[in-house]
């Protein structure tokens, strides 16, 4: 019996960017109604491959077969005509337009005629795809007024409304809540039933295990292997991704016995109608801070670091009360923040590794008010070696580093000053498996040196793997605390969603 041709077949695709061979002889196929997960470390070429299929890039070599026929996809509009739609990793919404305007951007229903006046139908037309995703907001809401998770849902709604045959999702759940994620799984299963194929890119291997029919692994721009439904499991994927066994993914040497707390917080509030927050960190412990998006974890971190005005409360570092009016005050006390978004908050992207590492320490690295360039570079060099930052030189622009190495640079900024308390907000978001494991090792060794670490994370595996205890936030208050022994995903989720 002749097999029907796959919906998409990719043969020998190559793509080079200045200085990098992003894809080399990559093959891939996607059957009708199949959910194919594409995994790989950052820089493995997943996004490039997806963007080629979606018409954002054109390949240097190789061919694409769609329904068995060779096609050229020179632009996004051509891809959309074929029915291939990419949901980008970064949000790609026009925030000043309303939801309906975004869903139909580029193909607005009009009254006809050369004036192309937009029909009022646009609002009603947007409803079905919103309802399908369980998004209970008016299509006339401005996108900028939505929380980030719902914005992501709008992107997905947009893709659904395109009547596509292939949906490519690049890290679709990175900013979704648990509930929204489950809703998305349901939608994907629906799509499958309708014969629509889905390509799913994710760093969250657990999701891949749940949703994928088949896994294609890329490594350094080449095919590294394929796993059928039965073969899909965490270790197998990681092995193919990094090309070696990861001996120990989470690395946590048990904490030393408790001594006096290094950070004490009492009655902290940044909003008027808020239950005050108390917490204490002891030297050498890693405390996980879990909660849903919007629970106030980042706000807590920002308040401690002096970015957000503190309404009331007392903060003590090493027993000494400090007034945090701006980050300088926190920094002077040895309390540092590694922010959520490294590209916009953590780094000066156009400057070098050395400039970035030196930035918070310039007060110490100067001579007669001039920057002591040599000492900055020496510091950067030592941090680079200590954290194993992979860059040809500390004079490299930080923009050119991979996500994991960029994150190490952000960490490195503070190591130059000798931290007492480190607040890490999503320290491994968008970081590949290999670098993740290295960052965990760095955290463990810092804790070993007596640094207290508060780790905000939405990745429960990470929370369970790294924390000595967990604080859970729910709607702006601390909902509870779990010891190492009492920790479990269920217990954390129960607290995070407001259950006992």
């Amino acid at each position: 019996m002749p097999q029907p041709p796959p919906l998409i077949e990719v043969r020998g695709i190559c793509k080079a960017f200045p200085g990098v061979q992003a894809l080399q002889d990559v093959n891939m196929r996607l059957a009708h109604g199949e959910v194919l997960a594409v995994v790989g470390e950052n820089g493995a070429g997943k996004s490039t491959l997806m963007k080629i299929l979606a018409g954002v890039y054109t390949p240097d070599a190789g061919e694409i077969l769609f329904d068995g026929k060779p096609v050229v996809i020179p632009g996004v509009d051509r891809a959309q005509k074929l029915g291939i739609v990419l949901i980008h990793q970064e949000l790609n919404l026009a925030e000043n337009l309303d939801i309906a305007g975004n869903i139909f951007l580029g193909r607005e229903p009009t009254w006809g005629g050369p004036l192309r006046l937009i029909s009022r139908r646009i609002t009603a037309d947007a409803e079905p795809s919103l309802r399908r995703l369980g998004l209970d907001v008016s299509p006339r809401t401005r996108v900028s007024a939505l929380p980030i998770g719902q914005q992501q849902m709008v992107e997905i709604a947009r893709a659904l409304s395109l009547k596509s045959r292939v949906l490519i999702m690049d890290e679709p759940t990175s900013s979704l809540t648990q509930r929204e994620t489950e809703r998305l799984y349901d939608v994907i299963r629906d799509l499958k039933r309708d014969g629509i194929s889905v390509m799913y890119i994710s760093h969250r291997l657990k999701e891949v295990e749940m949703i994928a029919d088949r896994v294609t692994v890329l490594r350094d721009g080449r095919n590294a292997g394929e796993l059928s439904k039965e073969q899909i499991n965490h270790e197998a994927m990681v092995r193919l991704m990094v090309g070696r066994e990861l001996k120990q993914f989470f690395q946590r040497t048990r904490a030393r016995p408790a001594s006096a707390p290094v950070l004490e917080v009492r009655g902290l509030r940044w909003e008027r109608r808020q239950t005050p927050i108390d917490l204490a960190l002891r030297p050498g412990e890693i405390v996980g801070l879990a909660g849903l998006i919007g629970a106030g974890r980042t706000e807590l971190a920002e308040t401690l670091f002096g970015i957000r005005p503190l309404l009331s409360g007392e903060v003590r570092v090493d027993g000494r009360a400090i007034r945090v009016r701006w980050p300088r005050d926190a920094i002077a006390a040895g309390m540092y923040l590694v922010p959520e978004d490294r590209r916009s908050q953590g780094l000066v992207l156009d400057e070098t590794v050395s400039d970035n590492i030196g930035l918070p320490s310039l007060d110490r690295l100067q001579r007669l008010r001039f920057v002591a360039m040599k000492r900055v570079r020496e510091l950067a060099q030592s941090i680079k070696e200590r954290l194993n930052i992979r860059t040809p030189s500390v004079r490299q622009r930080v923009n050119l580093l991979s996500g994991g190495n960029q994150q190490k640079v952000v960490l490195g900024k503070w190591l130059g000053r000798g931290p007492r308390v480190l607040i890490l907000d999503e320290p491994t978001r968008g970081v590949d498996v290999g670098a993740k494991s290295e960052i965990y090792a760095i955290m463990d060794s810092l804790a070993g040196d007596g640094v207290a670490i508060l780790m905000i994370s939405s990745d429960l595996e990470e929370i369970l793997g790294m924390s000595d205890r967990v604080l859970v936030m729910h709607e702006g208050r601390l909902a509870g605390e779990l010891t190492r022994e009492a920790m479990s995903e269920e217990a954390i989720m129960r607290m995070a969603t407001g259950g006992g």
Partner: protein
């Protein structure tokens, strides 16, 4: 929406101020209103151009110089003693065409060569001013023999020239005023053109797909591009519209004064245009603004100096008044935004 109500209130307040401060006799009121209407029409045209461009995420610092260039070009084309001695209609078409061409160049440099819009149009500001000086030999050039020339022009050009009565709409009123021995009234052509432009721009910007793309591009250009929108094309279109409107302004500017002053025509106009658009609620970050606001912004921009004139504040204070109004507007906007954001949270 509240913002525009506030702006409208502010505009009304200034207008009432102007009325109160003016001398209360019919002739001077009529004259002042005619001049105000004329200025609102003119500045409005340029503010709409700048506003459309700013909404699409662009900026044009060369507008004032394009006006200067257009005035100079028009005079040179019209002058009987000159090389061309063209009739007004072809001359104006050529001027408008040059305006569009300048916009096309700006747009291509911004989208294809990818030079920053600020830099491209800053350079344009020098270049087109220089061209105006070169065309005129850096001296004031007049349409010397216009008295013999003008009567041959057809009706609407004449109206444009005199900037007065058109279509006889106001004839009954003026007949009555004449009986009373009062100054007749008139609607300036520039205001009529401006109002037509506003209707067209409102349709374009708020009800058509094209305007939707302007907002999308200004708000998130990549999102628009990934949605299959021809972003470069629309950005170029925005520059072309803006420069063409500057050329139109040049023509309207030339008609009553009948001469080109290359060092003065349209000077600082780009800044006023941006000020009017921003005052009217456009964000220089792009993606935000509306035509109604721009109209109010332009009106405030004309009324404010008039008010300070009526109050006897010296001429040179005009810029201080505009600057302060803009600054206060921006501060209020930010304060209101924070206030409403804080309220939404609870």
């Amino acid at each position: 929406m509240k913002k525009y109500v506030g702006l409208f209130g502010f505009m009304t307040l200034i207008y009432v101020g102007v009325l109160l401060a003016s001398p209360w006799n019919w002739d001077s009121l009529a004259l002042n209103h005619f001049n105000l209407a004329r200025r609102i029409g003119m500045e409005g045209i340029i503010c709409v151009g700048a506003g459309l461009l700013i909404i699409s995420g662009g900026i044009d610092l060369s507008l004032g110089s394009v006006v200067g260039f257009s005035v100079a070009l028009a005079v040179m084309l019209l002058q009987d003693s000159g090389r061309f001695g063209l009739q007004p209609l072809p001359a104006f078409l050529i001027v408008l065409l040059f305006g569009a061409l300048i916009g096309l160049i700006n747009g291509l440099l911004v989208t294809k060569v990818k030079v920053q819009a600020f830099v491209v149009t800053l350079c344009g500001m020098f270049i087109y001013r220089g061209l105006a000086k070169w065309l005129t030999g850096d001296i004031v050039q007049g349409l010397k023999d216009h008295s013999s020339h003008i009567p041959n022009w057809n009706g609407w050009i004449k109206a444009l020239y005199s900037d007065r009565e058109i279509w006889g709409l106001l004839q009954p009123v003026n007949w009555l005023l004449k009986q009373l021995g009062a100054q007749p009234i008139a609607i300036p052509v520039s205001l009529v053109i401006f109002l037509l432009l506003v209707i067209a721009a409102a349709l374009f910007l708020h009800f058509s797909v094209y305007g939707r793309y302007f907002f999308a591009i200004g708000s998130n250009e990549r999102a628009a591009r990934y949605s299959g929108v021809n972003t470069d094309g629309y950005k170029i279109l925005a520059y072309v519209i803006c420069s063409t409107l500057a050329a139109l302004y040049g023509i309207l500017h030339l008609m009553p004064q009948n001469s080109a002053t290359p060092t003065q025509d349209g000077i600082n106009l780009e800044l006023k245009a941006i000020a009017g658009a921003v005052l009217g609620g456009c964000s220089v970050r792009g993606g935000e603004g509306n035509i109604f606001g721009i109209v109010i912004g332009a009106t405030i921009l004309v009324l404010l100096p008039n008010l300070s004139l009526m109050l006897g504040i010296p001429d040179f204070m005009e810029f201080i008044v505009i600057g302060l109004a803009l600054l206060i507007g921006a501060i209020l906007d930010e304060v209101l935004r924070r206030f409403s954001a804080a309220h939404k949270m609870h």
